[in-house]
């Protein structure tokens, strides 16, 4: 894939994840989880929102090399995340998968 495609996939995945994490279904799953999981979920929601804003503002040329260097991890992470978001039953594991994806995406643009 070229850098523009990796970029588009990453941004599309962040958007999809934000929509899932703001949904009523997510809220219900989060309330079934522990207080610690709820807190973790909220922190991740803001991470995802700020990553999508940062990537959305980025100039493709400036992050092209980082995208290519992390292509395999991004693709793998995306695949796992898509699978994880289809069922929110094991909420803690979904949060683990999101955390991994945030770490990989954070290599392209820093969170803070």
């Amino acid at each position: 894939m070229d850098a523009a495609d990796i970029y588009s996939d990453l941004l599309a995945q962040l958007n999809e994840t934000l929509l899932c994490m703001t949904s009523p279904e997510w809220d219900a799953a989060s309330h079934r989880g522990s207080a610690g999981e709820r807190r973790r979920a909220l922190r991740q929601m803001l991470d995802i929102q700020q990553l999508r804003l940062a990537l959305g503002n980025a100039v493709l040329l400036g992050i092209m090399e980082k995208l290519k260097a992390n292509e395999a991890d991004l693709e793998n992470g995306r695949k796992h995340l898509r699978e994880a978001l289809t069922s929110l039953e094991q909420f803690g594991r979904v949060l683990d998968t999101i955390a991994s994806y945030i770490t990989i995406a954070g290599r392209i643009v820093p969170l803070l």
Binding site: L19, T22, P24, L55
Partner: protein, 292 residues
């Protein structure tokens, strides 16, 4: 505003059929359509900026309790910085559109002028500004994908000979480049539409959870505005289906520009452009309602 712009589109069509000089009328009709397009697209750009800020505020509000006071300060500062950058980008898209409008108005003036040479210099200057801004926008992303990945393939329009030499030379030199800049508007609005959809949907999701579901399942009495919140959430989603209108008008404008250059711009083309511009305004209307 929608009715006024639609009327402007029809007036342009009427000018075309007046035929004192059909060719001059084509340029004037197209320039009027360009003004209407820029006005309508600016409304959508404003709404896109508002949607981005509102969604970010909703996420910050929903997640606030999960952060310490110091973290909140850092996170809010980061969000503000990112949103400021986004708003500058949207402003540049608007400026790019206004420069194109100025270029089309200059072409119309050249078509109707006995001394078009000074206007040709002005057109060249406006084009330089369009090109400079366009180069910067091509490298940007605005949300879901890089703008360049949305760029349509643009073929060089075949220029039909014109009596006004300066105008003929201008179109032969730059019609392809201008068609590409219109393609850029189309690509930018596709990216904006996609981003707008996510921002609006995420905000509506959070409002549904916080203002509709939580009070309803909770033990307290429902607040008096609960039903109106619910209506707002349910009707707000309607705007999402219309987001594509943003790039439809830009695409039609590019097609009309090609017809103009080839001396094929007719009443039907301008009418369908007016329809697309109205769709753009309708999108803005819906977004405003969704944001109430």
């Amino acid at each position: 505003m929608r009715i006024a712009l639609y009327a402007a589109g029809l007036a342009a069509c009427a000018v075309l059929s007046g035929c004192v000089s059909a060719r001059v009328s084509q340029f004037s009709g197209f320039a009027q359509a360009g003004v209407a397009y820029v006005k309508a697209s600016q409304t959508v750009l404003d709404e896109a900026g508002t949607a981005a800020v509102r969604n970010d505020s909703s996420v910050l509000r929903a997640t606030r309790t999960a952060f310490s006071s110091d973290e909140r300060r850092d996170r809010l500062a980061r969000s503000n910085e990112l949103l400021r950058q986004r708003l500058v980008l949207l402003k540049d898209v608007g400026r790019h559109g206004r420069l194109l409008q100025g270029y089309f108005e200059t072409l119309a003036a050249m078509a109707d002028s006995k001394n078009p040479e000074p206007l040709a210099k002005s057109a060249s200057g406006v084009y330089d500004s369009i090109s400079k801004l366009g180069t910067a926008l091509r490298g940007s992303s605005i949300g879901t994908a890089s703008v360049s990945s949305f760029m349509p393939d643009v073929a060089a329009p075949v220029v039909a000979a014109l009596k006004v030499r300066a105008l003929d030379a201008e179109l032969r030199a730059r019609s392809k480049a201008i068609a590409e800049e219109l393609g850029l508007q189309e690509a930018v609005f596709k990216a904006i539409a996609s981003d707008l959809r996510t921002d609006t949907k995420a905000r509506i999701n959070l409002e549904e959870t916080q203002d509709v579901i939580a009070p309803y399942i909770g033990p307290r009495e429902l607040p008096s505005d609960w039903a109106s919140h619910r209506e707002q959430v349910l009707f707000g989603s309607g705007a999402l289906d219309r987001a594509e209108a943003a790039s439809g008008a830009a695409k039609k404008l590019r097609e009309c520009f090609n017809s103009l250059v080839q001396n094929r711009l007719d009443r039907a083309s301008l009418s369908s452009l007016a329809v697309e511009i109205n769709a753009l305004l309708s999108l803005a209307d819906h977004l405003q309602k969704a944001a109430l």
